[in-house]
Symmetry: C2
């Protein structure tokens, strides 16, 4: 898939963008999950959610370290993504614990699927680093059981949370598009990788399909 | 200092209390610091504050693991402290980034000093575990520089933040007292350790003195 040389400044800029968005995404996910863990109704659930947040931070740290070793200014790389992530989180503030939980599972899932798709277009070393930052070791699986239990006792939850999941997907894609328009280098990575519009379409189809699978796992409709 | 046998059920109860309050304190500190890191004006500061939060989580995890290995039900041990910590954090919500920063430094400092004092009354193994959970490796030292810089540019900050520091100490001591009244076992640890009221008074004097030193480091009056 590598059509751009790793020496090419456009390629370097694209990798900086990609690691920047991934790192900043994990830093904000860390903060949001920690905030939302405070809404948990039990200590065990609070601890599980805090554990998810913690993993995001560890992965963020690893990325920052890698960027430093590679001579990428991490702060500069992350800066372009501060506004889109703030917009996403501002527009998707959970109103209660269970919405926060669904957001952690669904939002994080979409983001990580997207980064996995993008990692096909980078050099092996970058791909390996991205892989580490994307491996959640099924830590979020507890979410599925909690949501399913909620659906059993709360008759209105299925409709409300299904709608919530659609909104999360919509907001995530809308911010992703804003970023794609703004960040030429990252988009050029796809084009430079010989990706045509039809393939981009297929990529979005895969993202949506995986989203539907995650929603179905929780007993929700996408 | 050990006057109680480690086999004594009262001693076991006291250690469970002590590890429970320490663990839950670190879990809530993790959440609060993560929340407050979101107010940081720069990415570097956000990252530093997130790093502080992360350390609290790691130490929390170690404590939970140790409690499990020792047959202590961590959730049960933490439960009595949910309300006092919620009250403390509810009463000391930072109004801005710099108040959050001072709270991280001062509030955490007071709490850790208190646990250090208490660790004189436990067995070696428990003391070692507590030591690990209390070692922050000077990670919070960046706070001092940031607060001092703020004082240079904001003429009203010194008065406001000095007042804030006094409020943090007051709220912390007030919650600590509520806990002491409520948790007989933990208080008995001091009495069983042969500590009289005068010594408790000296302990509080030391806590206050260390608090004053921390405030002075930041250029504030206690």
């Amino acid at each position: 898939m590598e059509h751009m040389s790793t020496e090419d400044p456009a390629y370097t800029a694209a990798v900086s963008d990609l690691l920047g968005v991934l790192a900043y995404g994990e830093l904000t996910a860390f903060i949001r999950m920690a905030v939302d863990s405070d809404l948990a109704p039990t200590l065990t659930l609070k601890s599980s959610m805090a554990g998810l947040a913690h993993t995001e931070y560890v992965q963020y740290s690893q990325l920052i370290e890698h960027m430093g070793a590679r001579g990428i200014d991490a702060e500069a790389a992350m800066a372009p993504f501060v506004t889109p992530f703030a917009a996403y989180h501002e527009r998707t503030k959970p109103r209660d614990w269970i919405e926060g939980l669904v957001k952690a599972f669904v939002g994080d899932g979409i983001a990580k699927d997207f980064y996995r798709e993008m990692s096909a277009f980078v050099d092996d070393e970058t791909r390996a680093v991205m892989g580490l930052a994307l491996d959640d070791e099924g830590q979020a699986d507890f979410v599925v059981g909690v949501v399913r239990d909620t659906l059993k006792t709360d008759r209105t939850a299925a409709g409300r949370l299904s709608l919530w999941g659609r909104r999360l997907l919509g907001e995530a894609l809308s911010q992703a598009q804003a970023v794609a328009v703004e960040r030429d280098a990252m988009s050029a990575l796809l084009v430079g990788g010989g990706v045509d519009l039809a393939e981009v379409g297929q990529m979005f189809a895969r993202l949506t399909e995986n989203h539907q699978k995650r929603m179905a796992l929780m007993g929700l409709t996408a």
